[in-house]
């Protein structure tokens, strides 16, 4: 093993890390906003909205991200007759994919709140919006932190698929370096270590939060 390839291409890797983090960040943000919306409309008292939410979740949960990604990048422009850049295609695909999962987390989070809370809020005469905003969501968010963290970790891993549509993320750079230097083992080991360095602290944190919440309940 000769890790000099890694150090001598540190700048490329670093650039890849930045791209990966950038897409992770924006697609987590996009996915959470979209996911929250879709999760919440599934509780709305309007049937078609509920179905729409269900359809969205089922659609994006059940297709491999790789297919969604290729589809968004190649098929969508032809369908809609628009231009879409790699960056936007990647953002859209990752956002919709993760939104399906975030939506499920939000739905489960809201459902996990004791119905007695809704009863108490209803008995006070609160409207649907007031109950959600003041009573349900503040409690649900707390419980959702651990699954949200897990899903966001997934999201960082998912961005590695962006390399297939040649967004120059970490894995893309790794592929480039390895094909230039013929040293893939070192490069992929380095990539694995980089992901561990970023994600293990996060999962550990998430476990700690989970444990604290469990003991506080």
């Amino acid at each position: 093993m000769d890790f000099s390839v890694v150090t001598s291409h540190a700048d490329l890797l670093w650039f890849g890390i930045l791209i990966t983090l950038y897409y992770t960040a924006i697609t987590i943000a996009g996915g959470m906003i979209l996911g929250l919306t879709i999760g919440l409309i599934q509780f709305a008292p309007i049937r078609p909205l509920v179905w729409l939410g269900w359809l969205f979740v089922e659609f994006f949960r059940n297709i491999p991200l790789l297919v969604i990604l290729l589809w968004t990048y190649y098929a969508l422009p032809i369908f809609l007759n628009i231009e879409i850049s790699k960056g936007w295609a990647g953002f859209l695909a990752l956002t919709c994919y993760s939104a399906a999962f975030y939506a499920e987390i939000f739905r489960a989070g809201v459902q996990s709140i004791d119905p007695g809370q809704t009863d108490a809020a209803t008995a006070l005469g609160m409207s649907y919006g007031q109950k959600m905003r003041r009573i349900i969501l503040p409690q649900a968010f707390k419980r959702m932190i651990p699954p949200l963290v897990s899903q966001s970790i997934m999201q960082m891993k998912n961005t590695s698929l962006l390399s297939t549509i040649t967004v120059p993320d970490l894995l893309y750079q790794a592929g480039y370096i390895s094909s230039q230097t013929f040293k893939p083992m070192e490069v992929y080991t380095a990539v694995g270590v980089i992901f561990l360095l970023f994600l293990v602290p996060l999962t550990t944190l998430s476990r700690m939060i989970e444990r604290r919440q469990a003991s506080h309940r």
């Binding site: 809370q117 009863d119 108490a120 209803t122 008995a123 006070l124 609160m126």
Partner: protein, 271 residues
Amino acid sequence: MTEKSSKPLLRIQNLCLRFGSREVLRGVDLTVNEGEVVVLIGASGSGKTSLLRCINLLNTPNSGRIDIDGEIIFDATADSGVSRIPIAEVNRIRSKTGMVFQQFNLFPHMSVLDNVTEGPVIVKRETRKEVEVRARELLAQMGLEGHEHKRPAQLSGGQQQRVAIARALAMHPKLMLFDEPTSALDPELVGEVLKAMSALARSGMTMVIVTHELGFAFEIANRVVFLDEGTVAADGSPHDVLLKPEHPRLKSFVNRFHETADMLRPFLETR
């Protein structure tokens, strides 16, 4: 106990409720006058909780009619069909009743004070300052001075239930509904909640109470209503219903309590 008018505050007519194919309420008629304290008893599963939840539409009945303080909150009498009352209207009438639950159902993410002020501030849009003054008074009446800034989880069960009562009272309800308010409490803490309820009754509040504390029922109620399989099987003075039960099911129901009460004889004899 206190002065009672005969102006009906709550009128329930021929109320029916089904869960799926299960008929839980089968034509309940009940009128509660202003200032009256009505205790609802009945075996487990007889529909007591369901009836209480219908009064403020936490459960939506399948037919019948409910009016509170002269305003119709639900109407689906056989001939008229369900007449849609706008949800905002329902919420307004709903806040004329205050409900206290078995499991307290306090908002765990808010301080005790915020639990009490939440309703008036958010629902009635009163100014927070004024509401806080009133909330502190109510909490003081409930013997909870000094606990205003604690979280519900830091209080004992008895204290939590008294906060729940204060929370309901802060909305200035005309009618208070209690669903087994002491059955989730440690036995030693039951007394303090019953005391608070007695004080409330003496102040003239109209109350409908579901409870298994028959001694308390006897003491506080103007009327005791026995619910059996979703119908009113007995309705009368505490003395008639609890001490001279006629309905066979009521008899066996009350007798079980007599047995447990019997065991307490030695305690009464020494005092």
